[in-house]
Amino acid sequence: MGFESKLPETGVITTTLEQVVNWSRKNSIWPLLFGLACCAIEMITTGTARHDIARFGSELFRASPRQADLMIVAGRVSNKMAPVIKRLYDEMAEPKWVIAMGICASAGGPFNNYAIVQGVDKIIPVDVYVPGCPPRPEALLYALTMLQKKIETEHLRDHNAPKQTELGVLLPDTSDLPPLPGA
């Protein structure tokens, strides 16, 4: 086999911890099992025999957000669904990634109206956007490999600090509070 034939006789190789962690992370990205609209049907198709997402280590669609690494937002996000998606995202453990599948999840698509959020990136951060209405299964697989490339280049320290405070947008501004009475 390829790997074993390259091992030195001692069986020891040297690498960085970061590389090993990234290597294992990128080859077992478990998506969250949930779909929204048309794109979800193509997402299911990606998991079936012809396209076989298992070739990329992502066939384990987890029904619990606690066990999932990747959220594939497959379909249009309505105003009523948006809080649910945000909550699911928050429930996922770090490190986590998001693919916005299709034009609706990316930018609202043909539904520029009262009911639909114009892109899921208004509520959660997105790593890879996939164009298409819906994207073909091949396009989703390509997005997955793009995400793998991205994970390869990540640093352990990226996942150290909580994302929300780093951006400084979710914490309220406390600098201009009036003094409390009696203080």
Binding site: A49, N79, N113
Partner: protein, 581 residues
């Protein structure tokens, strides 16, 4: 058989305000204070037992000559008689109350009106007096206003025509920028907090989409189920009133996204009836081929997910069913280049002729599909688990099914041989030989048998359609409606003018209204279109089968075990894009 309008006028001379004809459908306008009496008479004595569609039209911007009475809002009811081959009657009633309309609730006559009236309340603000539980159904509870009223804007965001990366809107691109609003959840009306109330969804995978169920349990037994829908509400109806007739074909794909061809067909047939045209014979043959292929594909998705939910052998069946579905999608791709969202139908025909390799490939597919269906049946029906989990689960009687407005395989699974392809043939369905499978079991197993038999019948129709597909044009030759073909534009100035006019102004049917429905894989799918003579529909109402069928879930699941709820969701066969629109 008596003429329903004549019978009504004789019986209620004061109530009938106006009679007419809506593109071939008899239409009668009655005063709203007589609506309940008229409704009861129509149901009990004239046999209009199925309420197909209930909606409201906001007449605010309608030209005065077209207005029904002086009221701002008009209630529109489409009634069918199952016994008389789905004979259709349109009843309209002007609603008193001006901007704050009131209507009598018809839930006492047709219980299936419940959700339709809640939807009309949600989207138009019509208060139905006597409704058991009038509250919002699609929009979030804290939503201000009623989006389908004509004085409400379409909403959405301005689309910039030129952007640079320095623009403000890109500053936060891909970052978490706002907290969505969260409304507090309460136990629904009618549920008892002494029982355990469990939330299911909207993310749970077995709900086949973003359906949320609030389940009241006594131990393992279901006491009540309250579906909370609208998580995929996309404003199709409002959007349809802001695009041209031609352009809405693309939207219809995205409603019941596992049966795009059927949605296309339903819409273009409605517009064609409004325009008073009919597609050429070859186009009709192609449409039947596509519609039946789509029916098999949609039923395969149902079978795959249903089996995945229930049985230990489920995962294998998912792979098999999707293997066959891929073959159908390949056929679609040959014809129109798309797999899922096909947009293949056009007003007046189909977008392209079939490629020469299509029919041989189709015949090849049909040859093995028949045998594959038997393989699935052997896998499932010889499995005791499969039978135990379906038999006797979710019983629905004939009477209840019709009263709830349930259609499609659900209705036929309760023993009613009602199929619009036979009852009201369209696209030349009367030329093909096929049976309408029914089952008297009335449970999930009966519905399973009906859907399996329907796939077999679709294969039978497809064989005939492939053999007798007529030669000729695939698009209507009418330059006022159908854009001229590309090669004509280089030769004819007239064709160029027609092309320009069609793409700048669009098709403009005369003032009028139409309700046209087809037998989609899940049941009756209809479009009700009101035209004010412009290039956009004035009112576009979509009657989707999943919405009406899902309403029966509480009735089906009472007294069963909690784990049977997954079976019942599967057997109703919903697609949330179809429920929420």
């Amino acid at each position: 058989m008596t003429d329903p309008i004549l019978a009504l006028s004789n019986r209620f001379p004061d109530a009938v305000l106006e009679t007419g004809d809506a593109s071939g459908v008899p239409s009668v306008t009655v005063a709203s204070d007589h609506l309940l009496d008229v409704g009861r008479f129509l149901r009990d004595e004239l046999g209009f037992d199925l309420l197909s569609n209930l909606t409201v039209v906001d007449q605010l911007k309608l030209p005065p000559v077209q207005k029904t009475a002086d009221a701002r809002f008009v209630g529109v009811y489409h009634l069918r008689s199952v016994a008389r081959d789905g004979e259709l009657l349109q009843v309209k009633t002007p609603l008193p109350g001006g901007d704050n309309p009131v209507a009598p609730s018809v839930t006492g006559i047709w219980p299936g009106a419940n959700w339709h009236e809640r939807e009309a309340y949600d989207l138009f603000g019509v208060r139905y007096e006597g409704h058991p539980d009038l509250r919002r159904i699609l929009m979030p509870d804290d939503w201000p206003g009623h989006p389908l009223r004509k004085d409400m804007p379409l909403g959405g965001e301005r689309v910039p025509f030129s952007v640079t990366w320095d623009d403000d809107e890109f500053k936060m691109l891909g970052r978490q920028i706002m907290q969505p609003e969260q409304t507090p959840q309460a136990i629904p009306k009618g549920m008892d907090s002494r029982h355990m109330v469990v939330n299911m969804g909207p993310q749970h995978p077995s709900t086949h989409g973003v359906l949320r169920l609030i389940v009241e349990l006594d131990g393992e037994r279901i006491v009540n189920v309250e579906p909370d829908i609208g998580y995929l509400h996309s404003g199709f109806e409002k959007q349809g009133e802001h695009v041209r007739y031609k352009d809405f074909v693309y939207y219809t794909d995205r409603m019941d996204y596992v049966s795009a061809m059927q949605n296309n067909l339903s819409y273009v047939l409605a517009v064609e009836q409004l325009l008073g045209i009919e597609a050429p014979p070859r186009a009709q043959g192609i449409r039947v081929i596509m519609a039946e292929l789509q029916r098999i594909a949609a039923h395969l998705v149902w079978l795959a997910t249903h089996a995945l939910d229930i049985s230990g052998t489920g995962h294998a069946l998912l792979m098999y069913a999707f293997r066959e579905r891929e073959e159908i999608l390949d056929l679609f791709e040959m014809a129109c280049g798309a797999r899922l969202t096909t947009s293949y139908m056009r007003i007046g025909g189909v977008s392209d002729d079939l490629p020469p390799a299509f029919i041989p490939r189709l015949v090849e597919f049909l040859d093995y599909m028949d045998a594959r269906l038997d393989e699935y049946r052997a896998m499932l029906e010889k499995n005791p688990l499969w039978r135990k989990r379906l038999e006797g689960i979710g019983p629905l009687s004939k009477k209840d099914a019709i009263a709830m407005g349930v259609t499609g395989p659900m209705l036929r699974g309760s023993g009613v041989a009602y199929d619009l392809r036979r009852a009201r043939p369209y696209c030349g369905y009367d030329q093909y030989e096929f049976d309408i499978p029914t089952s008297d079991l009335g449970d999930s197993y009966g519905r399973y048998l009906v859907r399996m038999a329907e796939m077999k019948q679709s294969v039978r129709i497809l064989r005939q359609a492939a053999a007798m597909l007529p030669e000729g044009d695939y698009l209507l030759d009418d330059p006022k409606i159908v854009p001229p073909k590309r090669d004509l534009l280089d030769q004819s100035m007239e064709a160029l003018i027609h092309h320009f006019k069609l793409y700048t102004e669009g098709v403009t049917p005369g003032p009028g209204e139409v309700y046209r429905a087809i037998e989609a894989p899940k049941g009756e799918m209809g479009f009700y279109i009101v035209s004010d003579g412009s290039a956009h529909p004035y009112r576009l109402r979509i009657r989707t089968p999943s919405f009406a069928n899902l309403q029966s879930i509480a009735m089906l699941s009472k007294g069963h075990l909690f784990s049977d709820l997954v079976v019942i969701i599967g057997t109703i066969d919903i697609v949330l894009g179809d429920v929420d629109r």
